[in-house]
Symmetry: C2
Subunit: 523 residues, 2 copies
Amino acid sequence: MAVEQILIDGEWVPAEEEATFQAVNPATGNTLAMNFPISGWADCDRALTAAADAASALRTVAPEQLAAFLDAYASNIESAATMIVEAAHEETGLPVTPRLKDVELPRTTNQLRQAAAAAREESWKRATLDIERNIRSCFAPIGPVIVFGPNNFPFAFNGVSGGDFAAAIAAGNPVIAKAHPLHPNTTRLLAEEARKSLAAVGLPGSTVQMLYGMSNENGLRLVSDARVGAVGFTGSRAAGLHLKRAAEDAGKPIYLEMSSINPVIFLPGSLAEDGEKLAKELVDSCLAGAGQFCTSPNLILLWNGEGAEILLASMAQAFSERPPQPLLSSAGQNQLNAGVEALADAGATLIAGGKNLDGAGYRYANTLLRTTGSKFLSHPHELQREIFGNATMAVTVEDIEELQAILALLEGNLTGTIYSAKSGADDAIYNAIEPLLRQKVGRLLNDKMPTGVAVSPAMNHGGPFPATSHPGFTSVGIPAAMTRFALLQCYDGVREERLPAVLRDEIRNPATWRSIDREWVRG
Amino acid sequence: MAVEQILIDGEWVPAEEEATFQAVNPATGNTLAMNFPISGWADCDRALTAAADAASALRTVAPEQLAAFLDAYASNIESAATMIVEAAHEETGLPVTPRLKDVELPRTTNQLRQAAAAAREESWKRATLDIERNIRSCFAPIGPVIVFGPNNFPFAFNGVSGGDFAAAIAAGNPVIAKAHPLHPNTTRLLAEEARKSLAAVGLPGSTVQMLYGMSNENGLRLVSDARVGAVGFTGSRAAGLHLKRAAEDAGKPIYLEMSSINPVIFLPGSLAEDGEKLAKELVDSCLAGAGQFCTSPNLILLWNGEGAEILLASMAQAFSERPPQPLLSSAGQNQLNAGVEALADAGATLIAGGKNLDGAGYRYANTLLRTTGSKFLSHPHELQREIFGNATMAVTVEDIEELQAILALLEGNLTGTIYSAKSGADDAIYNAIEPLLRQKVGRLLNDKMPTGVAVSPAMNHGGPFPATSHPGFTSVGIPAAMTRFALLQCYDGVREERLPAVLRDEIRNPATWRSIDREWVRG
């Protein structure tokens, strides 16, 4: 059977494969026809050499050309949208509409265009000038970026089209994308649009390369190679921690988004005011994408009492009634099942779902567990296990002190949410718990669910370890996400004509914000 | 014999010591009288608990109070300057004047005052507001910061008074400083001024704590403790890499400044125009502080020919004539000797010095080695070994290609310097080599020596691994150095009155720069 080719140095070429794999339609369980290669080291090595050449070439490319590529790529993705969406639907089981076609694909092209605008504006370089001393600094490209995309967003976080990709390219770096094995054909189609777009704007083909996979050993070798500038990874904690150590031991910055249970806290007054509406919002958030979002609420914290009982009854009913969406893979289904069992073993009680479903594809019953604050405090490690999928756990607490104790034991998370009474009745509790929650999460929300992640300059899609590997950076939000893939470069006493354009006395680009003698000025 | 006490939670208390040590006057070799404790884990644990409490308390402290502490501390250091300088002179052998009294101490108090000003201004928080979506983010304190200071700057990089300290405190974090064992009494005196200053402004005593030392095992345990926010380290590569792995495995950001050979390149025209003057500048730079600066030139790159021969002869003469300053320790002397021998073994030729000197204290002959580009290329690893002290090595190259090949093989460095003809005669060579050097160094200099590190907002005292552990950050320069010790915190839909002051619609502080809907505005 024919094996698909990999994208190296601007060309689709046969891999020097160690093995092959096929994707599966998770909605049916049927193996798909196409055959994809697992690359040996020779492929990684070729990609790295070409990427290193591209990195040199990109350093002299005008920002406008990078921006033109990102814009062209966004347009080409839109032109090919029907085909790409269909492939993603087949490989992920995610609905064509609204999810893939109307939400994720537009989000992805919007992100590419925001990155293009940021590349054009050049403010992301954070040019800082000390005129009197003639010391000047700015951010500059870090070199080849390896991007590992996750299973759950085949476009918006894809290694060849997602947030890390857009940020790395806009900062002037070539990307070597590793396709996620659950959606190789989607990634292939996207990579082809990238290839065409590079050619159209005259950038080196080696600016965007794509491999379908490599052995774990070669993955570790790849991220620690001397030619690499930095690494972006979104995926499981286990895989992430292996890559983290390999990259960091080699002195390479690696930005990982790993695991998060996204606590959502309902203060008593919020449920008294709006219990029914909030139950629906919560169910929608927990089951969106079959719960396979990085920001899906896995931990619901409630005051023990009538409001909690009504909410949980309402959730249990909705969980039982709504048809479960397919999970992304049989491995994901097994992990979800194991996670639910582990929570039950640690003392949580199942009040809805809790089993694999028969029939086509990988489906798991929408699952709701509950436990008490005191049980949580006796097994805080076991009971904050991430359950990736359409399952969540509620914890009823007795008082502020118990909730504070729970929050103090939480690991780092992407998000933390507090719903409180509009009347102000919950304000004293809010003030008592917010400082504890605040330090554990990258994004703190009020009165809304965490599953939406706006592509805003003020977004932080990040958070303390183990949610990510560095609490000072976001992976979503342009231009902030770009500085992850940059070197800070200082010029001390360097002659004017030798400075990068963004650091000269007279700047060429009227749109650029610069900090000159401690004042932000533009143009 | 009495053992000095450690500073824990605002009080000088006896250590639960595992051992004791004494410092040595490196100018005489005489052991000094005072006895300092090596702390066991119990001391580290007490410090961590107190620091965690301080971190909570500092989150509600007004920036003005942090600034008042830093200003008071600077003034108190100045009031006690005579005593502190004398202690540092005795422990380091560095000259009282100009070095300690007139240069390093004023630099240190200036740095503390710059940090105070940055804390007051609050622009370092990089408040970013997306008004329409009501998404807002800013930097916030990361929690207790452990600072390991180096041997070579007893004030300006001291764990209890230097750049990392000032940055961590100004960002709102408590500091646990580990004194360098070569200057414990200096550190004790500084810590006492910090203690008094905290009391004077009413900040918790646990904001600044100080230990004299701990076992390597406890050092690793300390940096990976759950209560730690981040770590700053300046010192040797070997020690740094151990701490790096321990902290990173625990998910803690650690910022290390480790080793750098700081290449200085003289293009032919520069020597033709100004050879004599440049020889003197270079000698001054290489021998400043007995060569024990992080930015001391260890690698001089020259065109083979008459200009190089004149420069090297002039350097050799000056190296022979100038009296060597004492090194900081006998261990440093041994390492320097071993380094020079290793360079000679790898093919470099000794043309001045190369031996320990008899007499009082730890002195090593000012040492100059030379080799050729082709020899360097045959042993690139061995010949870029850092030699920390009054020794340097020149490499004569045959042509641009050879120099390019050398630059391509360099590890990351803090600085890289190019001297070129004022006439423009060297510009073609400059343009051919600059892109290679640029990617290897944090700070690129023209026509000046790298040993001065201005405390400027545009400074980058940083660079690619192994010079530091992250190429996107600087350890010198306010406010940039502060964001190393910060969390990025996003507020999504959070009610106005619950936002930190810096993120509200109406800002309290008229001095603060904020990015509002992609425009930088102040006040």
